[in-house]
Homo-oligomer: 337 residues x 2
């Protein structure tokens, strides 16, 4: 199958102009039907929109999306039970090949054992028996609206789903975050599927469900299932550009008190709630508890995201920085037998 | 000492008009100087503004407020360490006379032991040796702005501090919540002081510190310490009316799924973030995860607060309801020896 593709990296560093390179028309792609779809919530036990949404689908006994079977899973029931992100270790960092194949002993953390169970149920990762599509539901305390997160901008199924969600959902900004890792090192649960992505919606405090955030997540899930049905039934999806694609560059850490080693600042009010804005050199970044302001001293203009995410305090991460891209995707339709 | 006082309960039930009863001029009151002040954070270990504010004051070694000594305390260091509300039981429900005087055994929860330690350090509750003023710092996920919470509208020190905070702080709405309980049953840490109140600021996710919320709390603490210095140095504070005083009426609980007993709804978007608005009979209250709307069926128009507070999920409390009052306070100044 011959393909050409083009990734345009926005020249945001100095002048925020786009490269104006020629866009090649990509040849149409045919891919197998998605006959087994999994929808997971509670991978982090205190991210409540996904927990309540999966429970509601289970209550409704929703087990089909058109011709596809739908499997719904509460990924970390122990963590959900105690309303914590995890009990022993972060489940959503346990899906690397190394951890999935590690021997189980009495000392093995609960989440490692659970990851291996989930790999049996929804994978095996990278194997022909894996779910065709895995969608994992998350919340963040950051003001990120609706983000899809995955490991490639060349998984055309996911990119087409992203474009449909972006076109149809107007209640929140919609963006795509790509983590550039090989499959073996992909650590999150969505990597178990042949195609997989996480849906991340915020801001919502962990341990809380907000109707507005729940509804945005539900719309994204409805659009995903709608796209799958349409794809499986033979719809042809046009190729073209998709924008608002962000690639992870680096993490920025909280400043710490040299004596106590404790976090010594909050995100500056001018950065708080401004996920995916442009952060320029010299922009305020932290407000120290002493009142002092710390500014961004990087050389490149980048886009902060996961700004003030609760779960990242334990690693002292204040936010991540990304570069913005536009991606061209090919026309897509289901491969006929 | 002859006093007259008047509490006007706003006739909000039907028409939201105020009673127009005559306001009597109250006679001036003299009270002893406040020579020992305590400021506590981390009573709930995941309410971060108070934790970081107390740590910052400790870093600055701030031990005086004018002539008053200032004691700063992290109330629940174990819970702060693990960033949870509490480890065994809610510390801020442990300051009743019954719990403070209960015998300690090996089975006694950590927080009960810690409450008894704090009673020794900051009390004893109701005793002449207690702190003259105790201010306890809290956060909520509810959109409550800045609220002072205490057990009486006739503690003139607290009411005058409230009025100063209300007059000086414009960055958030300022309100007073009164819990009508006798001192022996007063369960929160602020009841250890001769005068005591909690400062509650939100919305802020638990486990997160936001600079805007931190700054509002800091302003409230600064105003409190400023008022204490002014009072101790002989300033005369005028009497008059104070408004936006709310008295707890009852709690409203989440609807539950009859089969699973799990919470079956979120706060309705029209109520979310609208703490202290007027809730009328027929107003939407819950959005069921199934899509159905539940309406408020009470007969009285009341004011919801602590709407969607994270910590109340474990008790299934969706919000509290209050009645609004205006309180008349007397002129106040320090009693000369």
């Amino acid at each position: 199958m011959k393909q050409t593709h083009r990734i345009t990296i926005q020249a945001s560093a100095k002048d925020n102009r786009k490269h104006t390179s020629k866009i090649w028309q990509m040849e149409p792609v045919s891919l197998p039907a998605l006959s087994r779809v999994a929808l997971c919530g509670g991978t982090h036990g205190n991210e409540m929109s996904g927990v309540y949404l999966v429970r509601e689908l289970q209550r409704q006994k929703l087990e089909k999306a058109g011709s596809a079977t739908l499997t719904t899973v509460i990924s970390n029931p122990r963590a959900v039970q105690v309303c914590k992100r995890y009990t022993d270790t972060d489940l959503n960092r346990c899906f690397t090949d190394a951890i999935l194949s590690s021997p189980v002993t009495d000392a093995t953390p609960y989440e490692v054992r659970r990851a291996q169970e989930l790999n049996t149920l929804l994978g095996p990762k990278g194997n022909v028996g894996a779910m065709d599509l895995l969608c994992d539901l998350h919340n963040t305390t950051a003001n990120m609206g609706l983000s899809l997160i995955s490991y490639s901008v060349q998984d055309w199924v996911i990119m087409h789903i992203y474009r449909q969600i972006q076109r149809k959902i107007t209640s929140a900004p919609v963006r795509f975050i790509v983590l550039d890792l090989p499959l073996a090192d992909a650590y999150s649960q969505d990597s178990l599927g042949k195609h997989g992505f996480s849906i991340e919606v915020g801001p919502q405090p962990h341990g809380v469900v907000r109707a507005d955030i729940f509804n945005i997540m539900k719309e994204a899930v409805d659009q995903t299932l709608d796209w799958v049905q349409c794809f499986n039934s033979g719809c042809a999806f046009e190729g073209g550009e998709v924008d608002n694609v962000y690639t992870f560059v680096k993490s920025v850490y909280y400043p710490r008190d040299p004596e106590t080693n404790q976090i010594a600042a909050a995100i500056h009010p001018q950065l708080q709630d401004r996920d995916f804005c442009l952060l320029h050199p010299g922009d305020p970044m932290f407000l120290m508890f002493s009142g002092e302001i710390l500014k961004y001293e990087g050389e490149e203009v980048l886009h902060p995201f996961f700004v003030n995410e609760c779960a990242y305090y334990e690693k002292s991460i204040a936010f991540h920085l990304a570069r913005k891209m536009t991606v061209t995707i090919p026309p897509l339709q289901v491969k006929r037998d």
